[in-house]
């Protein structure tokens, strides 16, 4: 072997040794500061949580299952991590044997998960956990069976006798679940509160984890935070009149006539509690929120979230006075040969947006509920078609982001009636063509956001940010 080849061989194997050294140079952790599941010890007193499912989560799912069953790639699509497990198993059909639910409340012998951890003869695949033996011991399996026999209730949180909120309880609200995002008067009870009469302002509501667990009245410690914001020069701006508000279920002897709720006004940067109490805003909070009940939507002083806005003829009557966000006469290849006069080169299409500052700034929520856009098509000086899309919200059309589609009469500007006298509106108007076509407006395609295509004067749904520069110049002038 030549010297160069020898040197090359030595270098190659030296590199192998380096790699091997790195790979085997890692040792097990000493577990300092961790609990038995390898999670950091919690210094503060944890929220007291009770119920068999909590024990199942800690002792079985977290201890044994989430080594594999976690995340978007969990085996069988079954994520058993804390906060996800319950919703993924109770009343959910098994993938391996779809005729059985993973957990069938009150029926352990019909619950496939019970069969899998027992290793019954009639399961598909192997007994779980995959890492067994050891599999779950008899007492752990019995724990699951007992919970199923109890009706498989969700994790329950022990309610503190009284929860007195501090500023720190609100500091992370932005990471909580955003349960509503709306604009305009989406709820009759709103009146003029929370800038409901000003189309420049949107409302976003967040709920803490405890509030999300409530099935009837809210447990003490439940917190809801509401942002009321607009946009100026591309920057989000909180309303000067209650831009950041909160309601906290305090309980105990506090505000007994109003279910123990305490009301808060906070600085927008959460640096200070500006005001708090049981009768904040001269009792306006109590008065208004007491209307949240089964008749009006909602319960226990909390209105129904997400909101739902059902448009009627009055919503479209003055659409030409709204912000015109685009007028186009050129051929638009996205329209194809059919929609909105796309097959006629002499068509002019105008799009009006009721709330110019309705901003689809969140992928999950898109445009705020209550957003209305109207498109009219003019050919040879005559309006030949008017269509509208309204972000209705609620659970109206979950497959299509809860948009409702309308056809309007070009003369009366009212919702057209079909041959049966029914209004031409709905989630699947035009045999679903509206929703299908507009679904292409998304960030992945680059055509728009939340079922709304780019329009040059929509400040939040334009292909670039030049509009902000123009808006800023307009404001400065």
């Amino acid at each position: 072997m030549h010297n160069i080849e020898k040197i090359r061989a030595v270098l190659i194997y030296a590199r192998i040794c380096v790699i091997a050294f790195i790979l085997i140079g890692c040792k097990a952790g000493d577990g300092k500061g961790l609990d038995a599941n390898g999670q950091p010890l919690v210094e503060d007193t944890p929220e007291p949580v009770i119920g068999l499912f909590v024990q199942i989560q800690d002792d079985i799912f977290t201890a044994r299952c989430i080594a594999c069953h976690i995340g978007a790639q969990a085996p069988q699509g079954l994520d058993l991590s804390e906060g996800n497990a319950y919703g993924n198993i109770v009343g959910v059909a098994s993938n391996q044997q779809p005729t059985l639910n993973l957990i069938e409340p009150d029926e352990p012998e019909l619950s496939y998960l019970v069969k899998k951890i027992r290793g019954d003869e009639d399961i598909s695949g192997g007994q779980m956990p995959l890492s067994g033996p050891p599999f779950l011991d008899d007492s752990q399996i019995q724990l699951v069976i007992d919970w199923v026999n109890d009706g498989a209730p969700p994790p329950q949180v022990a309610t503190p006798a009284e929860f007195v909120a501090e500023l720190s309880d609100f500091s992370a609200y932005g990471s909580w679940s955003a349960i509503d995002y709306s604009i305009g008067a989406t709820n009759n009870a709103l009146g003029g509160a929370h800038q409901a009469q000003d189309d420049n302002y949107s409302r976003r509501v967040y709920a803490n984890a405890l509030a999300l667990t409530a099935t009837d009245s809210y447990p003490n410690g439940s917190i809801f935070v509401k942002e009321v914001t607009s946009w100026q020069n591309g920057e989000r701006e909180f309303s000067a009149a209650g831009g950041l508000l909160a309601m906290v279920k305090r309980g105990g002897e506090f505000n007994p006539g109003n279910s123990g709720w305490e009301w808060f006004e906070l600085n927008p940067d959460v640096s200070e509690i500006v005001g708090r109490g049981g009768n904040l805003m001269d009792d306006g909070c109590n008065t208004c929120h007491s209307l949240a009940n089964s008749q009006s939507g909602g319960r226990d002083y909390v209105f129904e979230h997400p909101s739902e806005y059902q448009a009627d003829n009055s919503d479209f009557a003055d659409f030409r006075s709204w912000s015109e966000i685009e007028e186009r006469s050129d051929q638009n290849p996205l329209l194809g040969g059919m929609a909105h006069g796309g097959d006629n080169p002499d068509s002019t299409r105008r799009i009006f947006k009721k709330q110019l500052y309705a901003n689809p700034d969140s992928m999950e929520q898109g445009y705020p509920i209550g957003t209305i856009l109207v498109k009219e098509v003019e050919q040879e000086g005559v309006i030949v078609e008017i269509t509208a899309m309204v972000k209705r919200g609620g659970d109206f059309s979950p497959d299509h982001q809860d948009w409702e589609w309308f056809m309007l009469d070009p003369d009366s500007l009212e919702i057209m009636l079909d041959d049966n006298g029914d209004e031409t509106r709905g989630a699947n108007l035009m045999d679903g063509m509206c929703a299908s076509c507009h679904s292409q407006a998304n960030p992945d395609s680059g055509y728009g956001k939340d079922y709304v295509f780019h329009h040059e004067n929509d400040p939040f749904n334009f292909a670039d940010m030049a509009i902000f520069t123009r808006l800023k110049a307009t404001t400065n002038n």
Binding site: I12, Y13, R15, I16, I19, F21, I22, L23, I24, G25, C26, K27, A28, G29, D30, G31, K32, G33, L34, D35, A36, N37, G38, Q39, L41, V42, P46, D59, A63, R64, C68, I70, G71, A72, Q73, A74, P75, Q76, G77, L78, D79, G83, N84, N95, Q96, P98, D120, E121, D122, I123, S124, G125, G126, Q127, L130, S131, P133, P134, S175, E364
Partner: protein, 376 residues
């Protein structure tokens, strides 16, 4: 990440790229070690291009060149159009658990486990390959033991398309990393790319010259019903030489409720005299809403060919289940002996030692096993 040598106390991502750089700069150049030892692609021995399962004609003949067949004239090729195959692994296992240390202030109590001793059928599988044309194949990989049956793979495979490419459609194991037999290896267990999980979709690939590329587009639900419009993308690419190979993998998958998993790895294999070395480093990012957990899993495996019938395997594995939490790492070391009784059977025995935080008994165990593996 906890590393013995202070000078190498690297961030996991840095370690991955250091290893990758080492592999690249060296121009270095399943059981995946067979493929590495022979310098062959997985598709040389397996009907399924990405490895595992039924063997090809070559894969069936290969042991004959090394091992005595006894008096058998058995052939899994029933006729020109139908090929069968199978595997069964029966084993005796004994597991000893350490006693868990109690932790003051912990909200969860350590749990101790009794030692176990058991006979098991860890896996029994039947394969059927129906060859409609020389290039068009229906392939079925059906698990029949333990417990109830389960279809692991059922796919149409269309080979020898333009440029040597292929298409696979149906249910199949996703292309990603080294396809080790041992699903308990950290790189198999925590990535979810193992023989317990397959998915439904389409795979395309091409094997030009010394390269092999496969891309899978699947539902991303690990075989359960689709629950969203997003798809999982899994990719593995390898550069294969007689004495070494080098590969990379990537997978991304979005699920409802703002969940997303992204995995990527580098892997390599090299021959040196009677030694065959394998290595893989995986980085896994699990997003759940605003929370993200980063994991790192590694494998280092040395195979020593004692003689034609006997292989000795040493492995060392490392798992950091959450990069943001210190001192929670786990390691696993194995010594395994594999002896071919003949070209249909193999005796395997070994010890696997698990080491982790002392307060968890389950993660601190020693496993002994003796396994009879029949294959055809």
């Amino acid at each position: 990440m906890n590393i013995h040598i202070t000078a190498l106390a690297l961030r996991p991502k840095v370690a991955i790229w250091l290893i990758f750089a080492c592999l690249l700069s060296s121009q270095l150049a399943a059981e995946p070690y067979f493929a590495v030892r022979e310098g062959l692609k997985c598709s040389a021995c397996h009907t399924n291009i990405t490895g595992g399962g039924q063997r090809t004609d070559f894969g069936f003949v290969y042991p004959q060149t090394l091992l005595p067949a006894g008096k058998s004239t058995f052939s899994p090729k029933l006729n020109d159009h139908l090929l069968i195959g199978g595997n069964i692994r029966s084993r005796y296992g004994y597991t000893r658990f350490d006693e868990a240390d109690a932790v003051e202030g912990a909200s969860t109590e350590p749990v101790d486990f009794d030692n176990t001793s058991s006979f098991e059928v860890t896996n029994g599988t039947l394969y059927i390959g129906a060859q409609f044309t020389p290039d068009l194949l229906f392939y079925l990989d059906q698990q029949v033991a333990p417990e109830g049956g389960r279809t692991r793979e059922a796919a149409v495979i269309w080979k020898n398309l333009s440029g040597g490419s292929y298409i696979k459609a149906g249910k199949f194991f996703l292309p990603y990393g080294l396809r080790l037999e041992d699903d308990g290896a950290f790189i198999r267990e925590v990535t979810g790319f193992n023989f317990d999980n397959s998915d439904i979709g389409l795979e395309v690939g091409i094997e030009p010259g010394d390269f092999s590329f496969s891309l899978g587009v699947t539902n991303g639900t690990q075989g359960s019903g689709e629950n969203n419009k997003d798809k999982q993308f899994s990719f593995v690419g390898s550069y294969i030489q007689r004495s070494y190979r080098l590969g990379v993998s990537y997978s991304t998958n979005e699920a409802p409720n703002r969940q997303k998993s992204t995995s990527y790895n580098v892997f390599a294999g090299v021959n040196w005299q009677n030694f065959t070395l394998l290595g893989e480093v995986d980085w896994i990012e699990n997003e759940n809403g605003d929370q993200q957990t980063d994991m790192i899993a590694t494998l280092f495996e040395v195979n020593y060919l004692v003689n034609k019938k006997t292989n000795l395997k040493f492995t060392y594995e490392y798992l950091d289940p959450d990069d943001d939490i210190d001192e929670n790492e786990r390691v696993r070391g194995s010594v395994v002996g594999e002896y071919f009784l003949n070209r249909f059977s193999q005796l395997r025995t070994g010890i696997r030692v698990y080491d982790a935080i002392p307060q968890n008994s389950l993660w601190n165990q020693d496993r002994f096993f003796l396994e009879l593996h029949l294959f055809y």
